[in-house]
């Protein structure tokens, strides 16, 4: 293609493709400012060893701190500590939340000899209820759908009495749900 303005025309640049950290999402050279430095480093070393060597080389680190006054270095270190503590606390909170989340599988008698099984609480484990309901439907070749709870949450209702099979299937398919966190309930019709 001929350029109209020959030699003076700026060189055509192409879109650069910047690598972003798989942990904190920033360009890896900025990982040091987040609270997940250790994990960022592990990720970078594994996925982009050349970049890792450049960013975290002793020389680069020295250049980074040499430019700051002792006072500023101290403040930066304190700041980094605070951020790391914050990130850790957030992680711990999430872990606690998962540990205390319960999945309830409830057998409900709709009328004589007709049962449905409700599963409550899977969303706490990061599962998409619609997708899970579809999986259930396929696995048990039966109706399975997401319905709203009066409390504002959602549950999956599967046609038929499949409590035990459901528990087994959940443990096998969704590894994030610990066995101890599943409870089976029998909701008998009041006589």
């Amino acid at each position: 293609m001929a350029d109209t303005e020959q030699s003076e025309a700026p060189v055509e640049l192409q879109s650069r493709n910047v690598i972003y950290c798989g942990v904190c999402t920033l360009p890896p050279e900025y990982c040091e400012y987040g609270g997940t430095v250790k994990k960022c480093q592990e990720w970078l070393e594994k996925h982009h060893p050349d970049m890792y060597a450049r960013i975290w080389s002793p020389e680069a680190l020295e250049a980074a701190t040499a430019a700051l006054s002792i006072d500023a270095q101290k403040r930066a270190a304190k700041d980094a500590q605070k951020k790391a503590a914050k990130a850790e606390a957030a992680e711990q909170k999430q872990a606690n939340k998962l540990a205390s989340s319960v999945v309830t599988i409830k057998r409900i008698e709709r009328n004589k000899k007709k049962f449905v099984t409700a599963v409550i609480g899977l969303e706490a484990f990061g599962l998409d209820l619609k997708k899970v309901a579809k999986d259930f439907g396929k696995k048990f070749a039966t109706g399975s759908s997401v319905t709203k709870l009066p409390s504002g949450g959602e549950e999956i209702v599967v046609q038929g009495d499949v409590s035990d099979e459901l528990e087994e299937f959940i443990l096998e398919k969704y590894k994030d749900v610990p066995e101890d966190n599943i409870e089976l309930v029998d909701d008998k019709k009041k006589k």
């Binding site: 700026p10 055509e12 640049l13 192409q14 879109s15 650069r16 493709n17 910047v18 904190c24 999402t25 920033l26 360009p27 050279e29 900025y30 400012y33 987040g34 250049a63 980074a64 430019a67 700051l68 500023a72 930066a76 700041d79």
Partner: protein
């Protein structure tokens, strides 16, 4: 501007007339994007807009964030676009010590630019002449070729880093920053790791 996490909103497809208008105002603000405009806003691409809090609008092409705009003022590039075309946006550079402040959403103050690690445009750089908008850029040592005026969009680079860390509008002209050496320079910037950066645009 986006210190807090943002909640994504539904995206709306832009009419082709609105797309054309956007393209024009984009090139008027950032003439250096001219050679890349087909790549950024392909004529056949599906450009969408997303409403954000505080009367901000984000423009997204196939889930890739491009620009945002606050209530009809200048279009500002999303940092991911800056990373793709860094030479197309007038920039200043902060020293290493200022990075963590900018990345926590603090106002960028003049000393972060006037210190040894900072970079402001070359002294006595000629202002833009009509029709010669393409003749600007980084000329030496990380310095832009002309002084930047109050109210102009600016990209914030950082000492020792390759990629830009923030985008904003100048609260003071760069000549004034040099003369005074103090005071706010960029307020309410969009920075790495802020709500706009973390927003899910898929």
């Amino acid at each position: 501007m986006f210190k807090k996490d943002l909640q994504g909103a539904p995206k709306q497809k832009l009419k082709s007339s609105a797309q054309r208008a956007l393209r024009q105002s984009l090139l008027a603000t950032y003439p250096l994007l001219t050679p890349h405009i087909e790549e950024i806003l392909p004529k056949k691409g599906s450009l969408e807009s997303m409403k954000l809090p505080d009367r901000n609008t984000l423009y997204v092409l196939d889930s890739v964030p491009l620009f945002y705009q606050n209530d009809g003022s200048d279009l500002l590039p999303h940092l991911k676009l800056v990373h793709r075309f860094p030479q197309a946006f007038p920039s200043i550079r902060i020293d290493r010590g200022a990075i963590r402040f900018v990345l926590s959403g603090a106002t960028l103050m003049a000393p972060g630019l006037t210190s040894a690690g900072g970079r402001l445009p070359v002294d006595g750089g000629k202002p833009l002449e009509e029709g010669k908008e393409m003749e600007q850029g980084i000329v030496e040592d990380g310095r832009w070729s002309r002084e930047l005026a109050k109210g102009e969009p600016v990209v914030i680079m950082a000492e020792g880093k390759e990629e830009a860390c923030a985008v904003g509008t100048l609260a003071a002209g760069t000549d004034e920053v040099k003369a005074k050496g103090k005071g706010p320079v960029v307020e309410d910037a969009h920075f790495l790791g802020d709500g706009l950066w973390n927003l899910n645009t898929a």
